[in-house]
């Protein structure tokens, strides 16, 4: 009996390790290959300053990708994260610049706004049975419009709020370890990733993410209130989008109401490159993080090599198709 338990433990452990690596190993390997390739091609690439620039460039897309990952694992999609991010930034601008409230209120406002917007999308999907693609497409346009209306189509600057730009551009780590000036934006990205990964793998909410994406009808027949959980998942994703709104507003020291469209596709691309299945039920935060890094490394590396911006876009597109194709091939082999 004891030997079987040991064996069972062993096989379960190896299964987790194998399954976990299998899913992301390809994305991770491509990231390493890209890093090595670019550093051979250009001596400037591996400089610390350039590495930090890549990480900084990853932060906004990375946080958005984490938010979308949650929704995609449930078998849905969220097209509204780009304009929702802008909307959260605009509301923060209203709270801080128009109303003159202290910084903490702005942070809370961004996260709350995102949560409410997400809960709206979730309600459309769960209660009104609107397909996620349509519901979030509608939200995308509604929020884009509202951002422009509220701001009067003009950017809102944060010059009166001391410390706002520090949210993204300052470096808490750099103050402690001067040789490692990692920007706060990057720190926040990794904290968000760690917390979300914990929620996804260790809490009831995360469990129902995978369960809904795997077989929603079965979850419903098991007596779970699927509507409520779905709304909660969209709301959580929305609040993470709120954090992305803070990051981008801080980096630009302003809320740019016309910005946002297109970010959702970049985020979805990062998720897909990271090996999360668009049909739901499978996926990981680490994968999406690696996916976002791959996209940032590509953009940066090609720029260092002086490849025209237009071609960078072409390459990113090709990478997405290759990533999904590789994933399909792997899946066909194992099942």
């Amino acid at each position: 009996m004891t030997t079987t338990t040991v064996d069972a433990t062993k096989s379960a452990l190896s299964r987790i390790v194998v399954a976990g690596t299998h899913q992301r190993v390809l994305a991770f390997a491509s990231l390493i290959v890209l890093l090595i390739g670019f550093s051979i091609a250009s001596p400037n690439f591996m400089q610390t300053s350039n590495m930090l620039a890549i990480l900084q460039a990853t932060s906004v897309n990375g946080v958005l990708a984490i938010a979308v990952t949650l929704v995609i694992i449930t078998g849905g999609i969220d097209l509204s994260v780009g304009t929702m991010m802008t909307f959260c930034a605009v509301i923060t601008g209203v709270v801080l610049t128009y109303a003159g409230m202290p910084l903490a209120f702005g942070v809370v406002a961004a996260v709350l706004t995102g949560a409410v917007c997400g809960a709206c999308s979730g309600t459309f999907v769960a209660k009104m049975a609107i397909p996620p693609f349509i519901a979030t497409l509608g939200m995308m346009l509604i929020l884009k419009g509202l951002s422009l209306v509220i701001s009067g189509t003009r950017p809102i600057y944060f010059n009166d709020t001391p410390g706002f730009s520090e949210i993204s551009r300052g470096s808490l780590i750099g103050e402690v370890v001067p040789s490692l000036p990692i920007p706060n934006g990057v720190l926040i990205l990794f904290i968000v990733a760690a917390v979300t990964a914990y929620i996804l793998n260790r809490t009831v909410l995360g469990r129902y993410c995978f369960a809904l994406g795997s077989n929603e009808e079965s979850v419903r027949l098991s007596g779970v209130n699927t509507d409520r959980w779905k709304i909660a998942i969209y709301a959580l994703a929305g609040s993470i989008v709120g954090i992305a709104g803070l990051l981008i507003a801080s980096r630009l020291n302003s809320a740019q109401p016309a910005l946002g469209l297109g970010y959702e596709l970049e985020a979805i691309a990062a998720v897909v490159i990271g090996g999360t299945s668009l049909s739901g039920g499978r996926g990981s935060i680490l994968g999406s993080l690696i996916g976002a890094l791959i996209m940032a490394v590509l953009t940066n590396g090609l720029r260092v090599l002086s490849v025209a911006q237009e071609w960078q876009t072409v390459v990113t597109g090709a990478i997405i198709i290759l990533a999904v194709y590789a994933d399909m091939m792997r899946r066909n082999k194992t099942t």
């Binding site: 379960a12 009831v204 469990r207």
Partner: protein
Amino acid sequence: MTYLVEMKGIEKRFPGVHALKGVQFDLNPGEVHALMGENGAGKSTLMKIMSGIYSRDGGEMFVDGKPVSPVSPRAAQDLGIGIIHQELSLMNDLTAAQNVLIGREPRRSFGRLDEPALNAKTAEIFASLNLAMDPRTRVGTQTIARQQLIEIAKALSYNPRVLIMDEPTAALNDIEIAELFKVIEKLKADGVGIVYISHRMDEIKRIADRVTILRDGAYIDTVEAADTPLTKIIQLMVGREVTQNTPVIPDTSQNQVALEVRNLSRGKEVWDVSFDIRKGEILGFAGLMGAGRTEVARIIFGADARDRGEILVAGQPVNIRTPHAAVEAGIGYLSEDRKHFGLAVDMTVRANIAMANLVQFTSRTGVLNEVAMKETAIKYIDQLGIRTPSDMQAVRLLSGGNQQKVVIAKWLLRDCDVLIFDEPTRGIDVGAKSEIYALLEDLAAQGRAIIVISSELPEVMRLSHRIAVMCEGRLTGILPGGEGTTQEQIMELATQRDSALSVTEDVL
């Protein structure tokens, strides 16, 4: 004495089908009450009403003598009614334990999961079932039989007072069935009432206390299992039709071989399947759920890739890799799921019939010839007896039997020599069934080779000139059709498992 559950005068209608006509059913504590009837008799529908999945259109239901109307599976669970579904409803991406306790995960503060407690609790349930399985096993990696056992463990985890088992043994082997029966005996001793739906006659005698028989959605009788002979139960189930279930078998031995399949294999689903079929012949495919019959059909039709094997049409090897190539070779496949794969249900009868052969109705400039399409549609409506007000009726408004005829018309237009029918009468009323049977016999008489996959043994026996039986991906035997072959012979082949295979799976 009050019953644990009592149902009276239950009515249920679906579009085009009167599924339950004033059905009654009652259940005592500590009893196994078998519910018998042919497919489509209304057993599953009745149980879905009892377990809160469907709402009833009429009638009354009592639990402990009190009137109840469970409106959701959750409400039924709160009344102590649990169900093990016939079709597996597990989440393949989650582990066994995560599936068993879905919705009732042991939690720590802030909604954090207590995974060790989850696994321990599930391990306990598995132990009570004598099931050797790691609770952390991912469900998708398990065989159908073991998934079925996880489903049973899930139902038991609710500590139900009433447990509905819908074909629980359909995918189990003898050892697993024996274990299940031990569990049932234990539950009985604890006072749990069990509703047992099964097609296997031998099980009824082994396990049931009483038997209620339904036929065509109507209540027929309730009898004591111990002193009612099986023949009597079968007679009650099938009504008068019991004598007329053998086909007239034509001599097709001199006909050309229309289709030959050699050593077809694909993964674990299909293993080394070889058979042939001559023109004018009807070859039935029998087997249990998940035996690999549909998989074989899909490989022949090019919908799935094969690992090994050859396909010969009219003696010539053909390289079929896509459904298009199969149609070019004269092979048609009528899917078991008409609505998903066979029909565009919102389009008209005319459009659906013409669909598979639009080139024939297209002029050189690319314009569709509606007049020709109409003539063709009307020709088939007459020929197959499709009951529709006009050829412009939307297909979704037709009954199941008439929808199936539209699918058949579509394939007749392609002029296929080999037609594969996958569950051709699923969801079709009894009256329409015999029309479909007559149609299939006509098609064979015209010289086509017909393959019929069916889970209903009476249907296979009624139609087939020869009967191929599959089990776990292997073709375990081909029996002659007609009176000489019994249901028991087919079942024996259908449960002839490769024991070595299941043992190694247990070790893993």
